[in-house]
Symmetry: C2
Subunit: 474 residues, 2 copies
Amino acid sequence: MAQQLKNITKRSEDFAKWYTDVVKNSGLIDYGPAKGTMIIKPYGFAIWELIQKYFDSEFKKYEVENVYFPLLIPASLFNKEKDHIEGFAPETFTVTKIGDKQLEEDLYIRPTSEVLLATYFSKVVKSYRDLPLIYNQWVNVLRGEKTTRPFLRTSEFLWQEGHTVHETKDEAFLMTKNILEVYRKVVSEKLLLPVITGEKTVHERFAGAEATFTIESLMHDGQALQCGTSHYLGNNFAKAFEIKYQGRDSNWHEAFSTSWGVSTRLMGAIIMTHSDDSGLVLPSSIAPIEVQIIIVKETDEVNKAAEEIRKQLSHTYRVKIDKSDKSFGFKMSEAEIKGIPVRIEVGPRDLESKIVVISRRDTKEKTQVELKNVEKQVREMISEYDKNIYNMALQNRQMRTFEASSLKEYIDVLNEKQGFVLVPFCGEMSCEADIKAKTQTTSRCIPDGVDQSKGKCFNCGKESNLKVYFARSY
Amino acid sequence: MAQQLKNITKRSEDFAKWYTDVVKNSGLIDYGPAKGTMIIKPYGFAIWELIQKYFDSEFKKYEVENVYFPLLIPASLFNKEKDHIEGFAPETFTVTKIGDKQLEEDLYIRPTSEVLLATYFSKVVKSYRDLPLIYNQWVNVLRGEKTTRPFLRTSEFLWQEGHTVHETKDEAFLMTKNILEVYRKVVSEKLLLPVITGEKTVHERFAGAEATFTIESLMHDGQALQCGTSHYLGNNFAKAFEIKYQGRDSNWHEAFSTSWGVSTRLMGAIIMTHSDDSGLVLPSSIAPIEVQIIIVKETDEVNKAAEEIRKQLSHTYRVKIDKSDKSFGFKMSEAEIKGIPVRIEVGPRDLESKIVVISRRDTKEKTQVELKNVEKQVREMISEYDKNIYNMALQNRQMRTFEASSLKEYIDVLNEKQGFVLVPFCGEMSCEADIKAKTQTTSRCIPDGVDQSKGKCFNCGKESNLKVYFARSY
């Protein structure tokens, strides 16, 4: 890190540039040499590791087991499920040789691994006794992207992909919904992103799925971002890959499967929801450093007090004393730009009065706190901090949630405000393609908990019994 | 898992077939559809996760930070370091197109990531203040292999690759050695593989390194296996990629770098060292289940007692009650084949006398234990178990460590016995290539702690001041 912190474009001036500035200046990533790839730097990766930890521990409650499936998929396998290959073929990276030697068959780098899992399931599943299989892997996947942006859209990204196979439709469907609930829980409670849950329309469904469920959140600029999807695959893959089992009735049946994933896109969602003109703002649960102790001026006493505070807080929090040889001011700015929830300034003069100064990243409030109350104050402050950033995000979404009943109204809302727009919609593929062509927007979901009463489709005017959120999205 | 456990070939009859049988029947892996790839199943992956955990926590002591660098390396970058490209070019998987679209420049799938890290370091390192950078990543890498075997040699494998850059030669060298010590510690203390540490000869050095250090272990059949390597890269990569910093003297200097790695090969080493004719034998620290509770015959009382034991032991151990509907005998065999260190049989008759039967996987001893002593007994048993399997491995190595002073003696030892053979060696590239051609064996290392006195090279007869272990190896 250079000794000079760079300026961040104002969020209100140019949201896209602000985003890139925050991502780069907070030390999360750098660009990789191959087009559309990124290097996740230590600070960024530490956040990702914390995110992984929360999901993994929730997955365990549903008996999810971690596995590793190969990166490369022989072309012949990939071509078995028609919708799936159509969806992914144009963007798959293809290996055609090893060294100078041309391969007999092309190998695709996984854009997702349904076909690998389906092939495996078809080999090992013989009886209802072998079911369910509930697998997950944390891996890299690649998809060629024309325009890329760190975390949001990159040619390579990291994700978890869950793949399960079940005896009954109901069981597979329940799995799909249980995972959606895991996603909702972790994303709203740990990442502090208020999300809407719902089902995708046919147009936005995963290639090869019978139903796709989603959690959707709204960024500060009013554009939506899909934060995680859980797919009920019915027996589409079981048919294409012959995943059959002998049931309790001794007959052979096709199995039912699911798949689901969240990715490093979540990092983008966190940034675009919580951060501000001073840089990153991180929910405490995923902040690699929750409390940074910064020394105003080194003396033996100051060092000793700082170390004592560190020790005391480190039972509960990830705490660090910044021991670099940078100036006090630089350290304060750096901690701010990196979104560290709480900073504690320890200085010789304050120490004489047995106090330190604690500041919150979100409100920038500074509080003088007696030494003996530091732990209590930090606990309260972090709790308030988390509540506040969640509520600000929720408020933003509420302010930016609209209804429209005609395409004109819809376009007016979009042009004026940006946000989720609830519309009556016929749900048809062709109508949605038409809307997308006209407005460059897509449906986000058929939301849970919204009355799906009858009406007329806001675009084609046909009879409709769906209420759907449409939005501009990342 | 099928209801029938398959037979395992006797280790003494056919070591290679025994190995494959153990790997497959214990449920560690299956084969992937692309040539030379493997699927790491839940049981295998759980072991790998534990291995990762131990290394990661040791790395942290040396301020190693985890990162993620892209999978793909543009061909032009890869060609910058001459030795490195020569070493890896013939085996790199090459992406030439995305969908139907031919790429302008070939992209290599990383066989290792030195060039990516070096490119990054050259961009961000400007001043001595930016140093050191101590990075690690846990990722997949690919290398085309002609003959493959699960874990030991696969076209894709998982590993950690550390990459560091330093101000001084001494600091980089110390890093290299510190990591070697981490490797020795984790591999000997957690994986219970007795290892020899030492330096590689010029012939066996990593492509692009100035010195390669290694930990080597000996498998049950007397063949050696390299378990981890730590490379001092000098400023080879700094020169090729222009990693320069402004020093404390205000002049520009080339930086010094290191790289180091351990991989899923370690899983192969564990199997070939500890396992036996009944299947896998796992050191307790990496056993996903350390204690399996198996119910002889279900009654309310038995279930209750089993649950109590599980609860009690789960404070200290990874414990599981096998609740599947398989037979008692099947469950016992399965726990054995999977290498679970300790099994506890809970049955109604034993319970009447307030006892359970505990059995050890290594010695197959069964002990009747009073309910109140279960925890104590398990603790002692696991401690004895770990000691025993380490000592058996150590004994095997000691029995298979030889000396030779001529090529004839060397070949005689190899033909008769297999093992590490300590020989006086000139150290020259051409001489070692000659030995390899004649014997299909390679040098393993110039061992630490062995007196490097003068002598005559066992092959060419030239003056030599090295004592080197040669062996057949995996």
